[in-house]
Symmetry: C2
Subunit: 237 residues, 2 copies
């Protein structure tokens, strides 16, 4: 009886961690989506909301970290359970950074406001964020189902986001060259695009952590962790 | 006898982790310093070396993670020892990201090459990297000495780097506006500057982890995790 009781309390602790991670994931998604909407619609109030939401995400990450350590100390898990708990610390850290990137995007809303960003570029940023959000949503689903196979598939799809970021990078540079009055606002948009591209990287990190949690092994092969915008301009000089 | 033997093997495992972290820190510092040198001197061969070095750092992070989990499973540590081991996972992750930022900077060397970046801007980037490297070096010393007090002091100094980054951001924008032919290379320099600013953030993360490892508590108060460049251009429209 007693041992069943202990096991069930342990189970509750593990469930607490995974529920908290799912909640963090939902909030991080919302923040990114709100930040891009605020950017595209010049909505300063929505941007402010994203900035406030980040405090909640930071607190949740600390909570997951604290609970994880208490659970390890109390239950002394090994193998899969231990990887699960260590994995939750890693995933919470990635989600917290996704929130930071949403916040940083939101903070640029004021700087871009009223600068008349052409619809086409705003659409480009929106589209990039849609790709990154699909990636994030899918990785959170994979987290719920713990599928190593699907985690590996997500990891391979980050290249699409990188390619789209590089093309947006190029468009923004062209727009700046056409009219130097666009330079300040387009620079902020460049950083917003980079933020979104990095959200894709964090989704990939999370996919790798899930793969490790479920299999105990690192996913095979190098993955493209970087965009290719560094090649823009490389041949022109 | 047996128990002494086990304890000493355990001690060796802990020492292995901290030695590995210090080595990672040394390599990360070197990569950042090389990347900035490569950028300022248009040294493509040195940039290539930084890009190759990143593989070593990635492997070291995985090794620290694996050994940390094995040590927890085998020794079932609690309290300070457990925090020490979890802390090493976190610090290895921050150092791996510092290496990524060095690599990303190195990758932009080709794009900036031959574009005639004025000496003043190159000096600005160098100076920013000197500040970030001092921060990284000090935090690695604090890691060796495990001083919570000094860890807290480092955390407060990140503002200096943020302020300098924002001023460099402004200068780079001005230079782009003066001559649109500078736009491509200056955009890459903006991202290099941002990379270096983020290295300061990682040093701050490490300082917070050390504080947590030694005290079991989170450092008090919010810290400025973001630069203030988002305000540039905010009032001009």
């Amino acid at each position: 009886m007693v041992s069943t009781h202990i096991l069930s309390a342990y189970d509750d602790e593990l469930k607490f961690l995974s529920r908290r991670i799912s909640e963090m994931g939902g909030l991080a998604e919302q923040m990114v989506s709100d930040a891009v909407r605020a950017l595209v619609n010049s909505d300063a109030a929505l941007a402010q909301k994203v900035i406030s939401d980040d405090v909640i995400l930071d607190a949740a990450e600390r909570e997951v970290g604290d609970k994880a350590i208490i659970t390890i100390a109390r239950r002394q898990p090994v193998a899969a359970d231990l990887r699960e708990i260590i994995g939750s610390i890693r995933i919470a850290s990635d989600l917290e950074r996704v929130g930071d990137l949403g916040k940083n995007t939101a903070k640029r809303v004021i700087a871009v406001q009223g600068s008349g960003v052409p619809r086409k570029l705003a659409r480009g940023i929106e589209h990039l964020s849609e790709l990154a959000l699909v990636q994030l949503k899918e990785v959170l689903d994979v987290y719920t189902n713990r599928s190593a196979e699907k985690a590996n598939a997500i990891r391979e799809r980050d290249e699409e986001i990188d390619a789209m970021y590089t093309s947006l990078f190029r468009e923004l540079l062209t727009y700046m060259m056409e009219d130097p009055r666009n330079i300040t606002s387009c620079t902020h948009l460049l950083f917003c695009a980079k933020n979104i591209e990095r959200i894709g990287d964090h989704a990939t990190n999370i996919a790798e952590t899930i793969y490790y949690m479920t299999t105990g092994a690192q996913p095979e092969g190098e993955r493209p962790k970087d965009d290719t915008s560094n090649t823009v301009g490389a041949v022109t000089e």
